[in-house]
């Protein structure tokens, strides 16, 4: 993941206007694996998001991954970003990843960074809840 996320961070840093960054984010969302319609249930909804976000965590032999989707394009991009950061990580490491530090490097605007009261925070909490410790 380290390599991949660094590339993404570099791509973002090359963009000096919000419009291009948002467009890149929207493109990241388009690359997310398909999310099956039947999994778009209340149970899989992430609570605390203004738009609808669904996430289903999966753990295989100690490796964490998840599938996710949103009804909003920019938010789906954020799900894509989290997918790059967290998917394929050992489940033990979920809580130690410095997610705030990573988001700071994206120089995304403030309202897309994880704050206690926004949806990105809620998504990260749901991911961390998969961690055994």
């Amino acid at each position: 993941m380290a390599q991949h996320i660094d590339e993404i961070i570099e791509s973002f840093s090359l963009l000096d206007d919000w419009e291009s960054r948002y467009s890149l984010l929207i493109d990241l969302g388009k690359n997310l694996p398909d999310f099956p319609e039947h999994l778009k249930s209340d149970e899989n909804l992430v609570k605390g998001c203004v738009s609808k976000v669904w996430m289903v965590p999966q753990i295989n032999e100690g490796i964490f991954t998840f599938i996710g989707d949103s009804d909003a394009h920019i938010v789906r991009g954020l799900v894509g970003l989290l997918h790059i950061i967290y998917s394929g990580q050992p489940v033990d490491s979920l809580k130690v990843i410095d997610i705030e530090g990573i988001f700071e490097k994206f120089s995304l605007v403030q309202n897309l960074s994880p704050n206690r009261r926004n949806g990105v925070f809620a998504m990260i909490e749901k991911i961390k809840a998969s961690s055994p410790r």
Partner: protein
């Protein structure tokens, strides 16, 4: 293209609005851009006069009100009660004693549900709400239903976003005790014809009580309690350019004084012994504990401010703005306006085909445009129109054509990025 709503000729309307200068927060920027604040329906900006009044309330002669025998307390009591009198005049209430200060409109409705509702309703009694109510005028009644077993019926809403007034007659029954209805829909902007509802009730059974949620109405139009003849009327201060934390419940005097207290505490009693208490008359009976003194005084200043401009002037200006914005939105491909009532006040809800509302709002934010998206605390109404949410632009007295032009530019950018 729907043409049921009259589009006025607004070509002569000035582009800018000098009143904007009265609002310090609107002099700032958002993401480095001029701010087009189109979310006054959620909470309005505060004019300098209100900010100064709140500051002065604390900075000069501050003390707790009522019963203090020293000058500071008596001065602050006079200012607090003067605000009550101003608000009574503002809504045409016969007496300041009919003005109860609450935290907000929500608390006003909860007060009526829990005090009047629990005292005067029994299992099987019926109340009538509408499909367009804010959760604040739904949930308190749902709670009461669970507590004492009342029956709740709803006046439906047409595709245009107007109440089906004719249905009221078939919903009424000998068990009907209350109709509770918003005056202006916070989603659709529809101005409901309260007089028409009142007339139907008067003919059917004059003992049926009428509660009106005026939160979105008092900010856009002059209201008069004598003309409206509602039994209860609630609104919040912060949407009326006043501070947060203060709202108003108006009630007919005989009703208020027949109702048991909602909360107990200081400042609301007649006499207290260890065996029990007797209660003061309204409004003190419903104002237990130290109230929001500075906020009430600030709300008085807000009422002075809008009265000085004139509610008729504000009404006419905002009506032109709604026409201008409606016309501009209708010209855009893929825009669906939700709510096309003949009489609308200061609010336009819409969706943009292929553009999720949250995305649009996030892009508008970057363009300096503040709107609200989501269900607007009206989930049943969203279900009625078959949408998850809408984008809502709501107007205040400081808005102008520049704000709407900025909104349209932002929407075009959002469409380019999203579709």
């Amino acid at each position: 293209m729907e043409d049921n709503m009259m589009i006025k000729n607004v070509n002569n309307m000035p582009q800018a609005n000098n009143l904007r200068n009265d609002f310090p927060a609107l002099q700032g920027t958002m993401h480095g851009k001029r701010i087009a604040f189109l979310d006054s329906g959620a909470s309005a900006q505060k004019p300098r006069a209100v900010i100064d009044a709140v500051t002065k309330a604390y900075a000069e002669g501050y003390a707790n009100i009522h019963r203090g025998l020293y000058a500071f307390s008596q001065q602050k009591t006079a200012e607090y009660e003067a605000a009550r009198a101003k608000i009574a005049r503002f809504i045409g209430a016969p007496s300041p004693d009919q003005i109860v200060f609450t935290r907000n409109a929500t608390e006003g409705i909860n007060l009526v549900a829990q005090s009047w509702g629990r005292a005067f309703l029994t299992a099987g009694d019926e109340i009538i709400l509408t499909e367009m109510e804010h959760h604040a005028n739904l949930v308190p009644w749902h709670i009461l239903k669970d507590q004492i077993g009342i029956v709740i019926k709803y006046i439906p809403v047409t595709d245009q976003g107007e109440l089906v007034y004719e249905s009221l007659l078939s919903l009424l029954s000998p068990r009907t005790k209350l109709v509770s209805c918003t005056q202006v829909s916070n989603v659709l902007g529809t101005v409901n014809n309260i007089n028409r509802i009142k007339t139907i009730l008067s003919v059917f059974n004059p003992d049926i009580r009428l509660l009106v949620d005026g939160s979105q109405a008092v900010v856009h139009r002059a209201v008069n309690m004598v003309d409206l003849d509602a039994d209860f009327y609630v609104f919040t201060g912060h949407k009326l350019y006043g501070p947060t934390g203060v709202g108003v419940l108006y009630g007919k005097s005989a009703l208020l004084n027949a109702m048991p207290p909602y909360q107990g505490g200081g400042d609301m009693i007649d006499r207290v012994t260890l065996d029990g208490s007797t209660f003061a008359t309204a409004p003190a009976r419903f104002e237990a504990g130290t109230p929001a003194i500075a906020e009430v005084i600030g709300l008085g200043a807000a009422v002075d401010y809008v009265t000085h401009i004139g509610m008729e002037t504000i009404h006419a200006w905002e009506e032109d703005l709604v026409s201008y914005a409606t016309e501009a939105l209708r010209k855009m491909d893929g825009v669906r306006i939700i709510g096309e009532a003949e009489d609308k006040a200061g609010i336009i809800s819409f969706t943009v085909e292929g553009c999720p509302s949250a995305d649009v709002a996030m892009i508008l934010d970057q363009c300096g445009v503040a709107v609200r998206t989501g269900h607007h605390c009206c989930q049943p109404l969203m279900a009625r129109f078959g949408v998850d949410g809408t984008i809502r632009a709501s107007f205040g007295l400081y808005n102008d054509k520049n704000d709407i032009d900025q909104l349209i530019d932002g929407l075009m950018k959002a469409k380019r990025m999203l579709v």
